[in-house]
Symmetry: C2
């Protein structure tokens, strides 16, 4: 299947599943706690993941899948084609706000990000694109955000990392114009693609950063582990994505300490 056909198909799947969520958003959901009280999973997370999985497995039976729920959260090696799925990113927002959450899907090939999709379900906006094909919001092509310096923009941030100054998060934030906490990596990535924040620092699993990183990179932003090292597909990582100018300052000033 050609890349643009593949892209079109996956967008259709995601929007279809998003429509399903919107139709059922005002029902009550069973909730289970995962690792801690604030880490919850709803029936809807599992339902959405299964809907997407079924479509991928039917159309691309050879491909591997890494996904947040139902025991698909580990991958042995990165060779070949790998789909990475976050069925509902921002589950607490989904549950308590009924907005500010998104579906995220990425395609990696031999460990290299190729396609990314973020669907802001309640606003019916799909951000999509990837390596050498640009980034779009629905049908509109996005321009690269300005290459803003750390001292002249707002940062998206994980509140706990900020408070504890994990990997210099607080030091970095204090040089910026201020921090925002939206409660969903997907929503932070959307703000980043528009230049409303110029970096995002958090503690993320691969399905949290995969799609957004592909899109951010295509718009000229850079990402890495917050200590400068490689990101892991096996576990959570302290993660940063931001403008080139900001990443240069962070690398030079904070990643060496």
């Amino acid at each position: 299947m050609e890349r643009n056909q593949e892209c079109k198909l996956v967008k259709e799947w995601i929007v279809e599943v998003g429509n399903y969520i919107r139709t059922h958003i005002h029902e009550s959901f069973e909730v289970a706690e995962k690792e801690n009280r604030q880490d919850i999973v709803t029936e809807m997370d599992k339902k959405v993941q299964n809907l997407l999985l079924e479509k991928i497995r039917t159309t691309f039976p050879e491909d591997k899948v890494l996904a947040e729920e139902n025991g698909l959260s580990e991958i042995e090696e990165m060779s070949g084609r790998l789909w990475i799925i976050d069925p509902i990113d921002g589950t607490l927002n989904f549950y308590f706000q009924r907005e500010n959450f998104a579906i995220m899907v990425a395609l990696f090939e031999d460990g290299i990000g190729q396609l990314g999709f973020i669907y802001d379900v309640m606003n019916e906006q799909i951000y999509w694109g990837g390596k050498n094909i640009g980034v779009y919001r629905n049908d509109e092509r996005l321009m690269s955000p300005k290459n803003t310096a750390l001292s002249n923009g707002l940062l998206g941030i994980n509140a706990f990392m900020y408070a504890e100054n994990i990997e210099h998060t607080r030091d970095i934030a204090d040089k910026s114009m201020g921090v925002r906490v939206y409660g969903s990596a997907a929503i932070e990535f959307i703000h980043l693609l528009h230049g409303r924040i110029i970096a995002y620092l958090s503690n993320l699993a691969p399905w949290d950063w995969a799609a957004g990183s592909v899109l951010a990179e295509e718009l000229g932003l850079e990402f890495s582990a917050l200590n400068g090292g490689e990101l892991s597909f096996d576990t959570r990582s302290y993660y940063i994505v931001g403008t080139k100018e900001l990443m240069k300052e962070v690398r030079e000033t904070y990643m060496k300490c």
Copy 2:
């Protein structure tokens, strides 16, 4: 003038001024720093305040005004009718995001909040109402949010207060389901009125909390200084607003320490 006429008039003024902002939002603005690097004022803040001031002074020449910009930020005493104006709440969002800011206006009489108006300019939604008249989003009456306990909801919070645990802010947040930082008191109040967050804790000037507090109180929420004391109209205060259940727990557990 009758209360409902007064309400209608002020809404018209605010929406008219909001339309002016939207028309000029993509121009570049001169920016001046106030008390610190992150405390900025744009030409637009001053322009909006002057437009509202002119209307108030023409129609209600006897009334007093307390407002953020242009030397109107102090008031000698609270007797009589007092308009409290925040021309653009969330100035950093206005400047860097071109969204997530609002116009806020309140009317107090003898120190008691009577009317509140919050205009989410980019989404063209005006939240308005007051004592004994209910709270509305445009023409739709809002129901009171659920009386949710601290442990079962999200909090809006000032990131610095959270990190420094000022007046137990961090202790309180750690008992909740998580924190959000939207960068504008007005936007936090809007989320609060809808029940998307169940409390908001920040360091606020009177024009930051006046309108939102009137609306929150009318929907059954409670507010006070974070140490349990009186709020000041002369200076910034550590401020909390939240559900009755949450405020009860905060009063019993944290305000006595």
